[in-house]
């Protein structure tokens, strides 16, 4: 890859520039003039002048080159090809590119000629790029070096560049959010051109298979997402029903009763549960929990399906136990000791203190933690993909197979590369709903937790 090689060469040049700049600064100061900035800042200054413009050019070139090459190549095509519709033209362009880059057989003389032209252009381009980068680097180096004198404020200049770089890095997080929101909204809008919003949000039938031929039966494609929302809620409710009591009681025991030694062992053990990848939980659900539940169900005369909401919810609950317990642990520990001492001093037993004083005081924080856990459960994917199934049943029966929003996002997109069918776009609409719901849950939860914290701090 010449781009990588060029980058490495430029970095090498920059480090040479650093030594040149530093050397010159040292010799200036050896002549007796006291330097304003340390010699290394002179080095950094020259290195920045040498490397930054050339690297910027390299990046810009890499981004723009394909477009420019395409335009140049089209301009050189014979007029009968150039006059084609844009779709046909892009087919020709792809063919030319395949011939030029991968040695495919050209279908016509014009294409072969265009491919030769393309190869020549890109060869010239890469020479031009190398020459330009080298020229920029050397020019930058000598310019930067010429600026070195005793009271040049090199440190300030370098620090300004670093400051700009820091700000740029901190905007990456913002850009990510913008990217998420824009891509979700964009594709969702395309989806809602095919399917009306109310049919999506309130429809009760989900069968995203689109008809390939117009006369096919039974695959008209229905995008009513209510069964998915119901399935997500059912599984999350089961998960919370497992995780909240276990997590909360564990946290209470650990913070109010346990000896430090017990705590030191049990707490990390619980946190391991949070570190296990979700795909492992999914496999555990399929391999162990589902057959176990089926066997138990058969004993009791309950028909539990192989892929049941119960199995997925149970395993997801295990996964979020440490989430609930560590958040509750934090808020329980934040309850001031004086409240406990007051209750104990009035003769309450420890459990009475916990139930009647500590928990009510910690309740907002605990609720916040439960909401965060709920948002985790709603967004969890692998466990449900592996254990909950694909059937979009609208049911509240935990022994039946249900499907969730995340399962459908995955199944709609895996293996499908076409990007204009409602089937793939539906995944983005589901993603948008998921994003909004988890975001809302988080904001509410963080708000509750923060408000509560202020009360005692």
């Amino acid at each position: 890859m010449p781009t990588i090689l060029l980058t490495l060469v430029l970095l090498g040049l920059a480090s040479a520039a650093y030594h040149l700049g530093r050397g010159k600064a040292l010799s200036v100061s050896a002549d007796g003039a006291p330097l304003h900035s340390l010699p290394r800042y002179h080095g950094y200054y020259v290195a920045l002048w040498c490397g930054l413009p050339a690297l910027a050019l390299l990046v810009a070139w890499t981004v723009l080159e394909p477009q420019a090459l395409r335009a140049l190549m089209i301009a050189a095509l014979p007029p009968e090809l150039r006059g084609l519709s844009s779709q046909h033209l892009s087919l020709v362009v792809n063919e030319v590119r395949n011939v030029a880059l991968h040695g495919a057989q050209p279908s016509s003389a014009a294409v072969a000629e265009a491919a030769r032209h393309y190869t020549a252009l890109s060869a010239t381009g890469s020479w031009l790029l190398t020459a330009l980068c080298a020229a920029l680097a050397v020019a930058g180096l000598s310019w930067g070096r010429s600026r070195i004198h005793a009271d040049a404020r090199m440190r300030n200049a370098v620090e300004r560049v670093v400051g700009v770089a820091l700000v740029a890095c901190s905007t990456v997080a913002i850009l990510t959010t913008i990217g998420i929101v824009l891509s979700l909204i964009f594709e969702s809008l395309l989806f809602f051109e095919h399917v009306p919003l109310h049919a999506f949000l309130f429809g009760t039938e989900w069968s995203p298979q689109m008809a390939i031929r117009a006369d096919q039966v039974g695959s008209s494609g229905a995008f009513g997402a209510v069964p998915l929302f119901a399935g997500t809620l059912l599984i999350s409710a089961i998960a919370l029903a497992v995780a909240v009591p276990l997590g909360l009681l564990s946290a209470i025991y650990m913070s109010e009763y346990a000896q430090p030694r017990f705590r030191a062992v049990a707490k990390p053990l619980l946190e391991i549960l949070a570190g296990i990848p979700t795909v492992v939980y999914g496999f555990f659900a399929v391999l162990t929990i589902s057959p176990f539940l089926r066997a138990v169900g058969a004993r009791l005369g309950l028909g539990i399906e192989a892929e049941s909401a119960l199995a997925a919810g149970l395993v997801m609950g295990i996964m979020i136990i440490p989430f609930v317990s560590s958040l509750s642990d934090d808020v329980i520990n934040a309850v001031p000791q004086s409240l406990r001492e007051g209750a104990l001093g009035l003769g309450a037993t420890r459990s009475e203190t916990v139930i009647q004083v500590v928990i009510p005081a910690a309740l907002p924080g605990i609720i916040g933690g439960v909401l965060l856990a709920a948002s985790r459960a709603i967004g969890e994917t692998m466990i449900v993909v592996m254990a909950a199934g694909m059937a979009a049943n609208l049911t509240a029966n935990p022994f039946a197979a249900v499907t969730t929003v995340t399962v459908q996002i995955v199944t709609l997109l895996v293996g499908d590369q076409e990007f204009d069918s409602p089937k793939t776009l539906a995944a983005f609409a589901l993603g948008l709903v998921l994003f909004c719901v988890t975001l809302a849950l988080n904001i509410v939860a963080l708000h509750i937790v923060n408000k509560y914290r202020e009360k005692y701090d």
């Binding site: 997080a173 990510t176 276990l246 619980l270 570190g275 391999l287 162990t288 592996m386 995340t406 996002i409």
Partner: protein
Amino acid sequence: MTDMAEITAAPAAAQAAARTDVIARRLARRHAAERRFRAIGIGAVVVSVAFLGTLLFNILSNGFGALLQTRILLDVAFDPAVMDIGERRDADSLAAADYGGLVKAAMAARFPEVASRGEKRELNALLSNGAGDALRRMVQDDPRIIGTTRPIWLIASSDLDMAVKGIMPRQAGAEGLRFSERQLAWIGKLEAEGALARQFNTRLFTAGDSREPELAGLLGAIVGSAFSLGITLLICFPIGVATAVYLEEFAPKNRWTDLIEVNINNLAAVPSVVFGLLGLAIFLNTFGLPRSAPLVGGLVLALISLPTIIIAGRAALKAVPPSIRQAAMGLGASKLQTVTDHVLPLAMPGMLTGTILGMAHALGETAPLLMIGMVAFIVDIPAGPLDPAAVLPVQVYLWSDSPERGFVEKTSAAIIVLLVFLSLMNLAAIWLRKKFERRW
């Protein structure tokens, strides 16, 4: 007076006795409630830990079997005529030679009494389809063995492997039996003569994926994970550290920095599938990067772990006491010099710990990688970050989806490998924290 006192004292004493009795009973009840509550608390902890134990025990007991693999000892005659190469010894001929034929010939030599076609097919079914691969490698390493006869352990078929390990039945007449009576007799004969043994499964760590459970290996996924995590680290460590430094040391308190902060906290809670959608829409469709490539996987994972690293980095910077900054500034250091020369080195262990934990999380991430096409069935070991590849957790998912019974064991083995890598990373983080933790 005294009479009256006696009259009232007697019921009073009785009342008092009754009251102490009530109090004692109530106290006993309250203490019992106390013990119950305590027991429930212990019970919750025990149940949670028991879940962990069951999970780990299940995976370990299922997966350790896959470290061993059943093989059959055969005397393989490297006959150029059978290999169909004549006198040619160039690399292409050696690669294309008929090694399956060698295996079949060796099997026929072992059981000369087998004559009919059907019987031969049953006999050869005891060995894996890929049993000849090992022979190819031997010949390519040293072509001089052509013409000699060597005793070689060849990989058995998955069915035989499962039966030898006791996972599938091997008694005549048992339900779900996958062998004919003839095959059972041959297996018995091989076993009696010591030509059937379980040996360490090297393929698990040296081969790529395969449709055959006995041939499938993890190397492709391990290399894919390494490339992805490398890209993730290259992107999110510098950006994460820079963002943490900016927010903690330089940022003015204004709307913009508040926005960044809120944003980072919320990004940390966005479900990872949504990041997968982002990767699909932006990296694949807008930028036109290749599907299934570790490069894209690494980019998506970097965006996922960035908030974690920033939050950990800020905590590490907060832990450096202000006196360090004041001392540096008092000696004339600029703000940036203070940070790069004093604060950052002191905060670095904390930042590295956070980064390692973020990486460990990224290593286990599956769902967003499914979106960007890293679920393809890929046999070749990726040579660079642009080659199509699978990663470890996706390999787990793929194998767990395969219907063959042999893949259950393989999946557990893959999970064990994944968990080993995760625990190594976590141990490294703990070690770093222990070694460099400072109390100011």
